[in-house]
């Protein structure tokens, strides 16, 4: 288990040094920006000092509850009028059953925001990318819709838009011919809000999803991760996902 959490020493050193270089080059730009216009929280460029993650407590996740899925659909306006059966799925509820004991688990499954995302490795245009704060996204401006990333993703987390869409949400541009997936509600995170699914789970009273900065040792999620046992899905692949599951 520890293997996935900490990468090999060489890689870690490499990451450290690149982070420092990035910090130096970014700093003057940030300064310039600050002088040229009034500072607001939206101004802040993202930093590699953070990594957004989530801890899902499968004991609290209720079978048959779809609050997180519905919240995602509402937030991003995900609907398909032409062929409803091929609607994108950014998040889905998955049921597991232990064949030996008969115990059933219910959990939400969506983009796992891997540290080493296979979708980014295979993308021929660079459209699949990872933000420095760990959020894995598709830059639809350069996505050619080849769908290699969909094949590479071991979690089947990505969808393809097959039909012309109308009435998209201003904060969630989506369109035909591109691949899409959970964005971790990046538009909300950049404003200091938690993802829509987490907010909905919280509101429903189940509180099965905990979201936060897993690089900040004082954040609620880091504190919890340090004393409860949790696992990544398919830890054998060593992708080090940002989403971890408790009680599996």
């Amino acid at each position: 288990m520890n293997e996935e959490i900490s990468p090999t020493p060489n890689r870690r050193d490499f990451l450290k040094t690149t982070a420092i270089v990035a910090g130096i080059t970014v700093a003057p730009g940030v300064l310039l920006y600050g002088v040229s216009q009034a500072k607001s929280p939206d101004d802040q460029t993202i930093t590699a000092k953070k990594r957004w993650g989530m801890l899902i407590d499968t004991n609290k996740c209720v079978q048959g509850c779809n609050e997180c899925v519905n919240a995602c659909i509402t937030e991003h306006g995900i609907s398909e009028n032409v062929r409803p059966d091929i609607t994108s799925q950014w998040i889905r509820k998955v049921g597991l059953r232990d064949k030996q004991t008969g115990k059933e688990y219910s959990l939400p499954l969506f983009c796992q925001h891997c540290e080493h995302p296979p979708c980014v490795d295979v993308c021929p245009t660079g459209a699949s990318f990872k933000r420095v704060d760990g959020i894995v996204l598709v830059d639809k401006h350069i996505c050619i819709g080849c769908r290699y990333c969909m094949m590479a993703c071991p979690y089947k987390a990505r969808s393809f838009v097959h039909e012309t869409l109308k009435n998209q949400k201003p904060h969630s541009p989506r369109g035909k011919g591109t691949v899409e997936a959970c964005t971790f509600c990046v538009h909300r995170i950049d404003k200091g809000q938690s993802p829509a699914c987490v907010a909905a789970c919280q509101k429903s009273g189940h509180k099965a999803m905990l979201f936060g900065d897993i690089k900040d040792p004082n954040s609620e999620i880091s504190k919890k991760l340090s004393h409860v046992s949790s696992t990544a899905l398919r830890p054998d692949m060593r992708l080090n996902p940002g989403i971890r599951y408790q009680g599996l």
């Binding site: 216009q37 607001s40 939206d42 101004d43 802040q44 460029t45 993202i46 953070k50 919240a71 509402t74 937030e75 990318f129 933000r131 704060d133 996204l137 830059d139 639809k140 401006h141 012309t164 869409l165 009435n167 998209q168 949400k169 201003p170 904060h171 541009p173 989506r174 369109g175 035909k176 591109t178 990046v186 538009h187 995170i189 950049d190 404003k191 200091g192 809000q193 938690s194 829509a196 987490v198 907010a199 909905a200 919280q202 509101k203 979201f211 936060g212 900065d213 900040d216 004082n218 954040s219 609620e220």
Partner: protein, 155 residues
């Protein structure tokens, strides 16, 4: 005599031709040309100093590159200020029809702000295949709960 007569006629013909050409150049009928664009008025001024997010001559010439530069800032660096945000352009520039109350359609109506000039100058943009071309009027239930993440807010 004969030659003079012929020359006279030829001269008149040439003059007539020239005149008709001149008339054609000055007054094209609406059938022949795309009408001069008339972008609809924006909702409000950006600030007391200037109507738009940049002085008018600059925004007219450079809005394409401003938007493209900004797009990468948002995509890769998470900058979401409203100055060059496409959503903000739409919120301020796309207004409902005074009579019907409907927003103009980006794919059909020449009254849509972002379409008005583009068809005239033969610019085709595909921004609106993905991006919303009108302000979001639906009340979003999830947006109203604002759970500030403590680790970001403390920064």
């Amino acid at each position: 005599m004969k030659v003079r007569y012929l020359l006279n006629i030829l001269g008149k013909l040439c003059l007539g031709l020239l005149l008709s050409l001149a008339v054609n150049a000055n007054e094209p009928t609406s059938m022949q040309r795309v009408p001069i664009p008339d972008p609809p008025k924006a909702l409000e001024n950006f600030s007391t100093e200037q109507p738009c997010v940049e002085p008018i001559d600059i925004i007219r010439r450079n809005h394409g590159s401003l938007l493209k530069h900004r797009r990468n800032d948002t995509m890769y660096r998470g900058v979401r200020t409203t100055q060059y945000s496409l959503a903000a352009c739409i919120n301020c520039h796309v207004t409902p029809d005074a009579i019907t109350g409907n927003y103009p359609s980006i794919s059909q109506d020449s009254e849509h702000f972002c379409r008005s000039c583009h068809s005239y100058v033969a610019v085709t943009i595909d921004c609106f295949q993905c991006h919303a071309s009108k302000p979001d009027t639906s009340v979003n239930v999830i947006n109203s709960i604002n759970i500030l993440d403590t680790s970001r807010a403390s920064q």
